[in-house]
């Protein structure tokens, strides 16, 4: 079942329920579904958490996910991962799960809509100065914008905006292009070849989630480590 028509490029255009000016579209529905799965699943598992030698397999799974995330964050940021784990981990798990669920029929990844990816990128845009200021203080954070001289101030601002735009468009373009490629292949060579592309789509989805999280981590790390390198 393909609920995204071939002439639509965004799940925003699929309207599921409408009452006057209140519209529930597919992006919102599937975003809430993923949030429900993540929160509900974690709640179900951590409800019966135990610190004994024998642990349940779901607790084992969650522990391995968290420890992989911590290792990756520690490698990228060269820093203690605990304070970044909640934000970066949320980004990775949300994007990863929303990209992985594309194998379920009738599902459209909310990351195939520019609004979702723009919201995620804007959250990174605001998280970078927040982490930077808490790490090295207001004054020395904003001093970085005037390095090496004050002429570079507009270029720093332009860089921040353009990399936010790049984050949003990269994720959106990758996932949306995958949807479109599947649609075109279904019209040209049905039955077998689209299955291979679906399998490739799982890889692309996970790699994109990884890249989004790593890039957010790199931006945050570069905002909070410049002071130490300068001194």
């Amino acid at each position: 079942m393909e609920i995204l028509q071939s002439n639509q490029i965004s799940p925003d255009q699929i309207i599921i329920w409408q009452w006057r000016f209140i519209i529930i579209n597919a992006t919102m529905l599937y975003t809430w579904l993923i949030m429900f799965i993540l929160v509900g699943g974690s709640w179900l598992v951590t409800r019966r958490i135990s610190s004994e030698i024998r642990i349940s397999r779901w607790q084992n799974f969650l522990e391995s996910v968290v420890s992989i995330l911590r290792d990756q964050i520690r490698e990228v940021s060269q820093d203690e991962p605990t304070k970044y784990l909640s934000y970066i981990g949320t980004l990775f798990l949300f994007i990863g799960l929303s990209n992985l669920l594309i194998i379920v029929p009738g599902y459209v990844a909310p990351t195939a809509s520019l609004t979702t990816t723009a919201a995620l990128a804007i959250s990174v845009f605001f998280a970078v100065p927040l982490y930077g200021i808490t790490k090295q203080g207001l004054k020395s954070y904003f001093k970085e914008y005037f390095q090496p001289t004050f002429i570079f101030f507009p270029f720093h601002i332009m860089g921040e905006i353009s990399r936010t735009l790049a984050l949003a468009i990269r994720l959106f373009g990758n996932i949306m292009s995958h949807d479109k490629v599947i649609g075109i292949l279904l019209a040209v060579t049905p039955l077998f070849f689209p299955i291979i592309m679906q399998a490739l789509g799982l890889l692309i989805g996970l790699v994109q989630a990884y890249i989004f999280a790593v890039l957010a981590m790199v931006y945050i790390a570069s905002a909070s480590q410049t002071h130490e390198q300068a001194s």
Binding site: N7, A166, R170, G173, V207, V214
Partner: protein
């Protein structure tokens, strides 16, 4: 030719040219990046994790240029603002 024909023709040709020309640069760049990364991994297999991570991030950076071209060609074909303007008139 009326304006609908001109807009449709220009959009389709423009979308094709955007993808064709816009994917040359990223393809060459990704090829060079992967080549360098492979030879680096072959020389220093111990540093594989760092190299792989840097390679993925770098490839995503390079690829985003091709993705911009793709998004623009998709907008030209599926969500063309000039086309909808002319149709609505």
């Amino acid at each position: 030719m009326d304006s609908i024909t001109v807009i449709a023709m220009a959009s389709i040709i423009g979308a094709g040219l955007t993808m064709a020309i816009g994917s040359i640069g990223p393809a060459l760049g990704e090829g060079r990046a992967v080549q360098q990364a492979l030879s680096a991994i072959a020389q220093q297999p111990d540093e594989r994790n760092t190299l792989q991570r840097t390679l993925y991030v770098g490839l995503a950076m390079i690829e985003s240029i091709a993705i911009y071209c793709f998004v623009i060609s998709m907008i030209l074909i599926f969500a063309n603002p000039f086309w909808t303007h002319v149709i609505a008139k």
